[in-house]
Amino acid sequence: MNDTPDCQFRVDGEMTIYTAADMKARLMPLLAQCPKLEIDLSQVSEMDSAGLQLLILAKRACADRNGSLHLVGHSPAVLEVLDMCNMTPFFGDPVVISSQTH
């Protein structure tokens, strides 16, 4: 399987309600042009539901184009949110499983 993404996108800083609109605006052209997208989450300092929604949006959009979305470098903030909402399976990316139980 050819895993090389068409585009890479790195999130710097917060992925929250405060940055959501801006981030979506930046993601839209990428989603339009790159069916295979990789999002680097290593620099995400904080994430809330708005941030999570953007990831879901991206996942969907890529799937609609028969592409794929890969999330890499999940920062602790991201891991916590994905864990809490049980969304790790949804995205299907390999992550370090947290040592904390629910």
């Binding site: 309600i17 959501a20 929604q53 949006l57 959009a61």
Partner: protein, 739 residues
């Protein structure tokens, strides 16, 4: 977010809620159906407690919690609300106001007295609760009564030991500052989230998706020993913004049927999620779906049958306690109410509003300048354009000024409490009637009128309304009446405080005034002048001084306050019948519609509201004027003032003079001017403090041409004329009596 700002908002909102609470308490005794007021009172206390909790204001939370518990009993019909309880609640509201004041001033804690008062109130409140409460609120969740395990689940109860929570967040949750994640974290402190499923079905395609809206829903299997109230409490602040279903352990299958029907997603999908959550077994799911299908079929067959309300069905099937249903319905109504309120109000910084009005004032002046230039140019297209512009500016001006207008009703309503407290203190039975509550006036005026009005009301009750004996003697009903009335009249707002008490005793006032040396013994005074003596500092005819009034300090301050607002007070009174005190205040303080007149080389502006008509002065009149100081206007006597003489403008009287007839407070006067220069609107620029005591001038303005025009203070001019007249009359009387 700035914490200070947030705290400020809390303080303002708490005060509003305390006012709502007080209003509700005052209303409630007279009501046949008290339920709505009780709910309103409960909501107010409850919301204050919640908000205070957010900021960690433990004193307020602790106190309000006890109050809320008692209110809850009232709300639940377990405790009747009589006048004793109302009085206790009112005192509690006062104590909470004190606590809020402490929050505002930032001081550490209450004084010893206040703390004791607070504890006393808590004691009294606790008497109404079956269990003795300590002052601290109960933070820990109450363990629910253990429920018997059910072995089978066929059509009855499900096997699930855990709670099932279904959430569908509203679009605005994130925008309102909340995050589903924080609720889950909190939920985690009450128990264990066994399984959670995120549902993102509601998310639209990327192009339409609004990054700041929330499209998420959740199905949660939650293990906890907490009770339903505690779990519901977790979602307290998002109740309005979220569809919540909470199903206790071992709920009936029917519960799930209902819930699935309520939720937007497809039944099968929901069913799958519930199974995956561990809430339902696959077998149970089949049963649920079967019952669902049966009910759907039945509903189709009996389409004419009235769709039962969810609440009714729920109670019918024994699923839910009636109280819970009532709470849900109440919540719905509350949602509607708060939504309606939210749509109606916008919180605006008063300074920003003032800035806006200032700018509009400048706009008005600039517009006048443009108008003049357009007139001069004579170009029709330009003139039309400028005319449109002028009209729009006028509308903007009116709208802006309107923003500052509030109804006086709110202020009036506060007096219910004052009257209630004072009647108790004095042992007199007094009712307060309010009319004209919708009359609007400038916000600043409203704030400043509160104190004077309070004093006048207290005065009416203390000195005006007689004691029961005397009232009976005079054939009056035992219950005294104080009336607050407000209305607009020719550019002013009039506020009246009337009572059906003993009225002013003219002789006694005069005697006292002579005694105090305020008035010379043989000075002839009109009735109005005698009445106005009560505004003199140190004046009082009270035999004894009560703690409300009688010291002779109040009325003087009242008058000064009114005059500071550019208003005036008149008194109407009939001995043994009653008294009416009438306060007149200008409607707007910033911009006026004026009528421009010329006197010599100067221009003056007369407030248009007070102009009745303009009359050209005939040669006849001019001759007559030399002999007498009034004009015959259609057989009506019209006293007049020659502005030229008054302001010593100099120069010879022109051949053509005009009279502008103005009126104020029922008196008419004529102002003799040279030219009539038309209507125009302008901003009132206050005169410097040097000119404060200038009689007859109420401000200045800048004309479109750049010149300064003085604005006439018509009330004071009219007053001058009236005084002159009355003095002339008394002089005539004096000379007549001497003869």
């Amino acid at each position: 977010m700035n914490m200070d700002q947030a705290l400020q908002t809390l303080i303002v909102e708490s005060r509003e809620l305390l006012q709502d609470m007080e209003d509700g308490l005052l209303r409630i005794e007279g009501e046949a159906d008290q339920s709505e007021s009780v709910n309103a009172i409960f909501r107010a206390a409850h919301t204050i407690k919640g908000s205070a909790g957010l900021f960690g204001l433990d004193d307020i939370v602790a106190f309000t919690h006890v109050l809320e518990s008692v209110l809850d009993k009232v709300r639940g019909g377990k405790l009747a609300i009589g006048s004793d309880l109302v009085a206790l609640f009112l005192l509690c509201g006062d104590h909470m106001a004190t606590l809020v004041n402490y929050v505002e001033s930032g001081s550490a804690s209450l004084s010893e007295d206040e703390r004791l008062a607070g504890s006393a109130l808590v004691e009294k409140l606790s008497l109404h609760l079956d269990v003795r409460q300590s002052a601290a609120p109960q933070q820990s969740a109450v363990a629910p009564p253990s429920e018997p395990r059910v072995e089978t689940s066929a059509g009855g109860l499900v096997n699930n030991d855990n709670w099932h929570i279904s959430l569908r967040f509203g679009r605005n949750v994130l925008r309102n500052g909340m995050d589903p994640l924080s609720f889950f974290r909190y939920l985690g402190t009450l128990g264990e989230i066994v399984r959670i499923t995120t549902i993102s079905d509601a998310m639209p395609p990327a192009a339409e998706m609004d990054a700041e809206s929330c499209y998420l829903g959740y199905e949660i299997n939650f293990k906890s020993a907490a009770d339903k109230a505690a779990i519901e409490g977790v979602f307290e602040f998002v109740r309005d913004d979220c569809d919540i279903h909470i199903l206790p352990p071992h709920s009936r299958v029917a519960d799930f049927v209902e819930m699935i029907r309520d939720l937007p997603e497809e039944d099968l999908r929901l069913g799958e999620i519930l199974v995956r959550c561990g809430t339902l077994t696959r077998h149970e799911l089949e049963i649920v779906l079967e019952i669902q299908a049966q009910e759907d079929a039945r509903a189709e067959n009996t389409s004419g049958e009235h769709q039962k309300h969810l609440g009714e069905i729920a109670v019918e099937q024994g699923m839910v306690q009636p109280e819970v249903v009532e709470a849900a319905l109440e919540k719905q109504k509350q949602i509607k109410d708060t939504k309606a309120k939210q749509q109606q109000l916008v919180r605006v910084d008063a300074e920003k509003l003032d800035l806006l009005i200032n700018l509009i004032g400048e706009l008005v002046i600039a517009g006048a300048g443009v108008n003049i230039l357009a007139q001069r140019s004579g170009q029709p297209a330009l003139l039309e354009s400028v005319s449109t512009l002028g009209r729009l500016v006028e509308e903007v001006r009116d709208s802006a000024l309107n923003l500052r207008m509030v109804q006086i009703g709110d202020t009036f309503n506060r007096f219910q409490r004052v009257v209630r407290d004072v009647s108790k203190d004095l042992g007199k039975d007094v009712a307060l009637l309010i009319s004209g509550a919708e009359t609007e006036l400038d916000k600043m005026v409203v704030e400043k009128i509160g104190d004077p009005l309070t004093h006048l009301v207290r005065n009416s009750m203390d000195h005006g309304i007689e004691n029961a004996e005397l009232r009976a003697q005079r054939g009056k009903p035992a219950k005294g009446t104080v009336r607050l009335n407000a209305y607009h009249e020719s550019g002013s707002i009039v506020i009246e405080v009337s009572d059906d008490g003993g009225g002013l005793n003219r002789e006694r006032i005069l005697a006292k005034a002579i005694e105090k040396g305020i008035v010379a013994p043989n000075h002839a005074l009109s009735e109005q002048e005698v009445f106005r003596l009560i505004f003199e500092a140190g004046f009082s005819t009270a035999d004894k001084v009560s703690n409300i009034s009688g010291r002779g300090v109040g009325m003087d301050v009242v008058r000064r306050n009114i005059e500071a607002l550019r208003g005036n007070i008149e008194i109407e009174s009939q001995y043994t019948v009653g008294t009416t005190i009438r306060i007149r205040l200008p409607l707007t303080l910033a911009i006026i519609d004026g009528f421009l007149v010329g006197v010599g080389d100067s221009s003056f502006v007369i407030p248009l509201d007070m102009v009745v008509e303009c009359v050209e002065m005939s040669e006849q009149d001019r001759q007559a004027l030399k002999e007498r100081n009034y004009v015959n206007l259609r057989n009506e006597v019209l006293p007049f003032i020659r502005l030229r003489d008054l302001f010593e403008t100099g120069g010879e009287a022109q051949r053509r003079e005009n009279i502008v007839v103005v009126q104020y407070a029922g008196h008419k006067a004529g102002l003799v001017v040279d030219g009539l220069l038309g209507e125009f609107q302008t901003v009132i620029k206050p005169l410097g403090s040097i000119f404060q005591h200038l009689q007859g001038i109420g401000g200045s303005t800048i004309l479109g041409s750049g010149e300064v025009a003085l604005i006439l203070d018509v009330p004071s001019l009219v007053q001058q004329v009236v005084n002159f007249e009355t003095r002339a009359q008394s002089a005539n009387r004096a000379t007549a009596s001497v003869k």
